[in-house]
């Protein structure tokens, strides 16, 4: 809609500014809290302007750990979360690419049957099948390691479905041209299909990285070993201080650190992300 009415412009700006404030204010508070020392955070009123302890707190968090999860530093948690999110997103993309490739380009018995079986797993997220999945993971000896953290979350019907749709838009002539050029199935996949799905892969990576990064319930369940704690689940643990009061300045610092990687991923891949979701022409 193109309209030129000053009042309307003013109004829409006000709404937008309000929206930005609603989103940004808690983040600002997080940042402010993470820059004060423990003493200041126990006094009311709480500060609204940054203090001078930001880098001390940052260093302490990265190297020492916080509150009742003292044994493991936030740095390690960040690494754990990063490993988990990367394994989930890369694993999902790899498996969905291959399964979509099989479903779209190969004629094998019960092809549609397999497709629907994959599709039906949409109805079974981890939360629904958490006990049986835990049992399987425990029996396979994958508790307290990266495999256990990521593998149960890797199978993905959404991604398979998305790549199937992408592949269906690629004209058959390209496959035929590649066959005449002498490309076998794997070559066609690697040289033609994957590069052509580049933007979709990027879009999916962004979504899946954030999905993996934000996992809470699953890591909570299968990590007893504190060395395997991920950052998102640990924040909750940190607030559950039994005897002393929670170290809010450190918790806020951890929260701030937990927010950074998803933001970095979104910002760096924004262009490809938008292209991947909107581009239709092949």
């Amino acid at each position: 809609m193109v309209e030129n009415r000053p009042l309307l412009t003013l109004f829409s700006h006000l709404v937008l500014i309000l929206g930005v404030l609603v989103v940004a204010f808690p983040i600002w508070i997080t940042f402010v809290a993470s820059s004060h020392d423990a003493v200041r955070m126990t006094q009311v009123p709480l500060p609204l302007l940054p203090g001078s302890h930001f880098f001390d707190n940052l260093w302490q968090a990265l190297t020492e750990g916080v509150g009742n999860v003292k044994e493991v530093s936030v740095g390690t948690m960040l690494l754990n979360s990063l490993a988990m999110a990367l394994m989930i997103s890369i694993g999902k993309i790899a498996i969905s690419l291959l399964s979509a490739y099989a479903i779209v380009y190969f004629r094998f018995p019960f092809r549609m049957g397999f497709f629907w079986m994959i599709f039906i797993t949409l109805m079974l997220p981890v939360e629904v099948r958490i006990l049986p999945t835990f049992k399987v993971v425990a029996d396979l000896g994958m508790l307290n390691n990266y495999w256990g953290l990521s593998i149960p979350l890797i199978a993905s019907a959404t991604a398979t479905f998305m790549f199937r749709q992408v592949f269906l838009t690629i004209p058959d002539e390209l496959l035929e041209a590649a066959r005449i050029d002498g490309a076998g199935p794997l070559r066609f996949f690697a040289d033609i299909l994957v590069p052509m799905s580049r933007t979709n892969i990027a879009a999916l990576f962004v979504i899946m990285f954030i999905y993996g990064w934000n996992q809470y319930l699953w890591p909570l369940l299968i990590t007893q070993d504190k060395d395997m704690y991920t950052i998102v689940m640990s924040i909750k643990q940190m607030t559950e201080a039994s005897e002393e009061s929670p170290e809010w300045h450190m918790i806020m610092m951890t929260t701030l650190l937990a927010m950074i990687p998803p933001v970095v991923v979104v910002v760096t891949m924004q262009k490809l992300f938008v292209k991947g979701l909107t581009e239709t022409e092949k």
């Binding site: 041209a177 066959r179 050029d181």
Partner: protein
């Protein structure tokens, strides 16, 4: 370079649809054969069987000395140009052309050499070689698709309606270029099109297909002068041939039109008097005359095309619409009478049931 031999080839799809009912043709080395017919006639299927993209249900296809029925497309030593070009959108023009050669394991220097040569033949600049296909115009993409075929130096070129995505002007231009290119490289070519002008101008020989059957195989002039069936007669030539129901005259040497007009036939006998026939006359053969014993066409509509004039009309009471093509501009108006005669050599008679030439 190689000859191609297609023997008794049939195609039946898994759903039972028979697309090709047995095709035989020997294509000589360096020959340009055009498969032509309306859409759905099986011409593309036949080409794709030669390419190895469709399985052959029965019969054999031989390229050079080898039977290729069970070979992969890449092993058949062919190159194909697709209707929508089928260029790899994520590769530069150079890589599009080089891809097949890379897979064959050719050295970098030789690939560069061949691509360069092909680019020169097709007048693609070195700057264009670095571009992506979507940065090129339709005609340029077409050239790249041909370049991809040329660099392979195949025994056989296969063209699947390569010009149908181009605008009319470019199509004529590319048609000439394909013709020149084929003559220059001397590579055996099979070309599929539904456009009869393309077919007539490009092919050394034409194969007219209709519903999976070969209607006629011959040089363009043979097809034009002696169409083997009513289908071929109607398909080849523009505007298409006029047909009317008629009857052989009592003497067996004339043909009687329903409107009472009688036209003399060629000397050859063997025509039973009174037999029902379909008479075909090409628009350009209804020539103006001043002599006696003429048929007069009542003009209904005049189309002025500049170089030619098309006249639509009918003979006497006969309702069949006839088209006449005259050179230059004409002063005839609707309602006028156009007295015309036809050289008996230009009358075509067809059996009304089988459609075959009599």
């Amino acid at each position: 370079m190689a000859q191609v031999e297609i023997k008794g080839v049939e195609k039946v799809y898994p759903n039972g649809f028979k697309a090709i009912h047995g095709v035989d043709i020997d294509i000589a080395e360096g020959e340009f054969v055009v498969l032509v017919g309306p859409s759905g006639c099986g011409k593309s299927t036949l080409l794709r069987m030669v390419a190895g993209l469709e399985r052959v249900t029965a019969g054999t296809i031989r390229i050079g000395e080898r039977v290729v029925n069970d070979l992969e497309p890449a092993q058949r030593d062919i190159a194909m140009v697709f209707q929508n070009y089928a260029l790899y959108p994520h590769m530069s023009v150079f890589n599009n052309m080089a891809y097949g050669l890379k897979i064959r394991g050719m050295s970098k220097a030789e690939i560069a050499d061949r691509v360069q040569k092909a680019a020169e033949i097709l007048e693609l600049s070195s700057e264009q070689l670095t571009r992506r296909p979507n940065q090129l115009s339709g005609g340029q993409r077409q050239r790249v698709a041909m370049g991809r075929a040329i660099v392979r130096e195949p025994s056989v070129f296969l063209f699947d309606e390569p010009l149908s995505n181009l605008d009319a002007k470019l199509r004529v231009q590319m048609r000439v270029e394909i013709k020149k290119l084929q003559e220059r490289l001397g590579i055996t070519s099979i070309y599929v099109t539904h456009d009869q002008v393309e077919a007539m101008t490009l092919g050394h020989r034409l194969m007219v297909l209709n519903e999976g059957n070969v209607e006629q195989l011959g040089t363009p002039i043979e097809l034009y002068e002696k169409p083997a069936s009513q289908f071929v007669a109607g398909f080849i030539g523009s505007p298409s041939m006029n047909f009317m129901d008629a009857r052989i005259g009592a003497g067996g040497d004339t043909v009687e039109l329903p409107g009472g007009v009688s036209l003399p036939l060629d000397g050859a006998g063997g025509r039973e008097p009174g037999r029902a026939v379909v008479l075909g006359i090409r628009p350009e053969h209804l020539e103006a005359t001043t002599g006696s014993d003429v048929a007069s066409l009542r003009v209904d509509l005049v189309e002025l095309l500049g170089a030619d004039t098309l006249i639509h009309g009918h003979f006497g009471d006969d309702k069949a619409d006839m088209t006449v093509r005259l050179q230059g501009t004409s002063t005839l108006r609707p309602g006028d009478l156009y007295p015309c005669a036809v050289d008996p050599a230009h009358l075509h008679l067809f059996d009304p049931d089988s459609g075959r030439r009599i």
